[in-house]
C-alpha cells in the first residue's frame, strides 16, 4: 500500500499524520507539496490539519484552489480514498468534495481537548474497526469546526448514511450539552456520497499510543491500512 500526505504552507499536522500512517503501514507516505501538479501512485490521500495560508479569506479556501488540489479532486472523483482532517476537512468542503462548510465555533473559543465521538454510519474502510453506535476518543484543536449545512443537505447526509461521527459523551449520548462547537446535529465528520472521502474535525493521528494518552487513533489507522492493503 502507498499513501500520500498533502502539505500546504501553514499545515502543522502533516508530520503527525505521517507518523500515524507510517506506524500502521510500515513505510512512510509520500509528502506532496501544494504547488506540485502531479500525485504519485497512491491508495490513500491524506489532507492534514493546520492553518493553511494562515486561514486567510476563509479556512481552507486558498489551499482548496492550490494546484495539487485539482489532482486530488480528480483522483477522489475516480474513487481514491481521501482522509481529510481538521483544516483538511475545511479544504475538502471548500473544493466541494464534501458538502457543507465549517464556521467559527459558536462560543468563539479555540477548543483543544479530547472529545468523545459516536460512530454513526458504518464505512468498513474508515471505521470498520468500530461498531456502529460505539464511542471513540480523538482530540480536537480548532477555532472553526462549527459544521453547517442547509436543511436539504442535512436530510441527504442523514438519509444516505453520510454522517460519520457526532460529538457525544462517553456513554454515546448526543445532545446540546455534548455539542462542543455549535455544529448542526452535533456533526463531527462526514463521508461523501460514494463513501471514499472522510472529512472530520477531530484528530485520530494524535492518539496513536499510550504515551500520547490513548490508542483509538491507532485502531483507526490500523483498520484503514488493513482495508486498503
Amino acid at each position: 500500500m502507498k499513501a500520500t500526505v498533502i502539505v500546504f504552507p501553514g499545515s502543522n499536522c502533516d508530520r503527525d499524520l505521517k507518523v500515524a500512517i507510517e506506524q500502521s503501514m510500515g513505510t512512510a507516505p509520500d509528502m506532496v507539496w501544494h504547488a506540485d501538479t502531479d500525485l504519485p501512485d497512491t491508495d490513500l490521500i491524506a489532507i492534514p490539519g493546520g492553518f493553511s495560508f494562515g486561514d486567510y479569506l476563509r479556512c481552507g479556501a486558498i489551499a482548496g484552489n492550490s494546484p495539487i488540489m485539482r489532482e486530488v479532486v480528480k483522483k477522489a472523483a475516480a474513487g481514491t480514498p481521501v482522509l481529510a482532517i481538521c483544516n483538511g476537512f475545511q479544504v475538502a468542503t471548500e473544493t466541494g468534495m464534501l458538502p457543507g462548510a465549517l464556521l467559527r465555533n459558536a462560543n468563539q473559543k479555540f477548543i483543544c481537548r479530547d472529545v468523545d465521538l459516536k460512530v454513526i454510519s458504518q464505512n468498513e474502510r474508515f471505521v470498520g474497526a468500530f461498531e456502529q453506535g460505539q464511542t471513540v476518543r480523538f482530540p480536537v484543536a480548532h477555532h472553526d469546526g462549527n459544521y453547517f449545512a442547509d436543511d436539504e443537505t442535512l436530510k441527504r447526509l442523514d438519509g444516505e448514511g453520510m454522517i460519520a461521527f457526532k460529538y457525544a459523551d462517553e456513554d454515546g449520548t448526543v445532545n446540546e450539552g455534548t455539542n462542543i462547537n455549535g455544529s448542526v446535529d452535533n456533526i463531527a465528520g462526514i463521508y461523501n456520497e460514494n463513501g471514499n472521502i472522510l472529512g472530520l474535525m477531530p484528530h485520530p493521528e494524535r492518539l496513536i499510543s499510550d504515551q500520547l494518552g490513548g490508542t483509538d487513533g491507532k485502531i483507526f489507522f490500523d483498520n484503514l491500512v488493513n482495508s486498503l492493503s
Binding site: 479569506l57 476563509r58 479556501a61 486558498i62 484552489n65 468542503t93 471548500e94 458538502p99 457543507g100 462548510a101 464556521l103 467559527r104 465555533n105 459558536a106 462560543n107 468563539q108 462549527n146 453547517f148 449545512a149 442547509d150 455549535g182
Partner: protein, 80 residues
C-alpha cells in the same frame, strides 16, 4: 477599472463574530443595537480590463474563490 466585492453571511448562518461585536457594543452602552452581522469587503484593481469584460470576470472570481456560496452572499460594485 476597479471593483468592490462585499461578502456577507447568508441569513440563518450563525455569525459568532457579529454576536461578539454586538455584546461589545452593548457593553459600551449602545443599547439600541438589536443585531450585528459582520462581513468583508475586497477591493480589486482590474487594470485595463474593460467595462464589458469586468462583470463576468469578477463574477467568476467570486464563485471560484472570493465567496463560499454555501454560507455567503456577495455583491459586486464596479468603480471607474
Amino acid at each position: 477599472m476597479k471593483a468592490r466585492v462585499t461578502i456577507s453571511l447568508k441569513n440563518g448562518v450563525l455569525d459568532p463574530q457579529g454576536k461578539a461585536i454586538e455584546h461589545a457594543l452593548h457593553g459600551l452602552g449602545f443599547a439600541g443595537v438589536n443585531d450585528v452581522r459582520q462581513g468583508k469587503i475586497i477591493e480589486l484593481d482590474l487594470g485595463d480590463l474593460s467595462k464589458e469584460e469586468a462583470p463576468a470576470a469578477v463574477e467568476r472570481m467570486c464563485t471560484q474563490l472570493l465567496a463560499n456560496t454555501v454560507i455567503e452572499n456577495y455583491s459586486v460594485e464596479l468603480l471607474d
